[in-house]
Amino acid sequence: MDSFFARYRNLLVLLAILMAQIAGLAVQVRRSSAGTNTLDPSDPSGVRLIRLWGNAIVSPPERLIHGTKIGMESMWTNYIDLGHVRDENRDLKKTVDRLRLEQAALLEDARQGQRLQALLGFQEKYIYTTVAAQAYGSSGSDRSHVFYIDKGAHDGLKPDMAVITADGIVGKVRDVFPHTAQVLAVNDATSGAGVILETTRIRGILRGDAVGRLEVVGILADQRIQPGEKVLTAGGDLIFPRGLPVGVVEKVIPDPERDSFIDILVKPAAHLERLDEVLVITSTEPRFSPQEEQDLTVSESQKDVVPTAIKDQVKASEIMAEKLPGLVDPNLPPDQQPLHDSSNPNPAPQPPQPLHADEFSPGAATTPAPETNTEPAPKPQTKKPAAPHAAEGNGGKPQPAEVSKPQTPQRRNP
């Protein structure tokens, strides 16, 4: 027996190690109800421990290398390559001033939108708080499109939080360690996000293919989809807020597995291969954040502070308007308006009279229809404003029509 073990020692060790790994794999895979095998999304404790050890050993030197690279790059940008900083600063200040004015103009629209959404019972989630993180490492394999960031559980990160950049979405947090986190990129084959095409409003599922390209799958063939159309997040996956940029349509190809379906190759908006700074959305709330509220307050206070140049332009246009003759003079009665002035060498042309007047003819709207002996048309079911009746009961004075408000059900007290 000893000679057997001595002779086949190498093979026995190989078999033992292989069997141990196969047994370890078996506990990580689950049989779904559909009869297919799936990877258990929540790692067993032993597997999670191995991932934690692997991360703890590889991360520190990796972060050191990445930090050295960043330090050398920042030394170059901060001390050597300062040629255009002043010009850039001046341009940025101009941009900030312009954006403040635009923000003030958009403020009312945004608030009105919120009020209308509240009336409709629809709550739009706004990005509320984000955590900035530095991407420093990857899985090391193009079979697994994950990368690591230098923020973890101690910074409030949790699995399934969305990760974005200023350009577009990047991925979602998959695994969280104390000081680091693993992010599953959107171009991984196991990733998935609900997306919508901006113009055609066609929805699909975003994922990665074998070589890490982004594609939208599960779409019926549609001639309207053209390269260049923007792709946005649809917001239905409970991970990415709605309306974030994903990329643009690059190419439409037929689905190799299903007839009449197509796949859309998407050029990602974010640079997925060269990520540095990313933002992790830690919470979304149906309201503006304090920082955004503060920005809006500043914008509101500056809304009236119109630049002098714009004031001068407005004043000049008002003076010109007073001096130039107009077609309608508010101080003259209707029959003496310049429009009806017979001395005018270029009078406004009168519209030709119709041969057979109908309801679309000029003046038909104000002319009551002649009574006939035919049966009256059935009354429409929709409610109409009570303005005419109110005018009759008010000495003929027209009253403004009431704006209909949505009726909220009365709450009954128990």
């Binding site: 190989l14 794999l25 191995i50 692997g54 394999s141 070589v211 990520l275």
Partner: protein, 173 residues
Amino acid sequence: MSLLSADSRRDMEIRRYPLLVYALVPLASLVLQAWLPRVVGRFDWFDLPLVITVYFALGRRSPIQGTIMGAGMGLFEDALSHHPIGVNGIAKTLVGFLAASVGIRIEVENHIVRLLLNFSLSLLSSVVYFFTYRFLLGLALEWSWLTELMRAVGNSLIAVVLFPLLDRLQIRE
């Protein structure tokens, strides 16, 4: 390529390295493998842990050591990915075992031999990975054989450059 009996070659040419080399070189390969793809983008057609596994397995000429080293490197790679832990482990375990078994029997100092060995073992690793993932576990896997071929070529070229450098780290008697 001279053929010798397994025991005589093993006794003659077992390479020994300082303990620090056994610890730092594999760790450096894992760290660089995780960091370099961020620098080179999508042209990450290399697998440094596999190259290092092949190197030490060939140098030590011990199938058991090659097996253990391959298993350790593969499990580390799996731990950094989001795939099941053990898929890379199984692939590199077999690679380490085979590399050491081949190293006993043939002369591996020649660059051409090193190049061909790394190319074939890289492809074998990819095949085992694919087989384990798709058929043993029954999981869906997007796969590109062209990428695997490019990776095998990349590993072979890296090995031709890296092996002579690592040879300098061995203990000379």
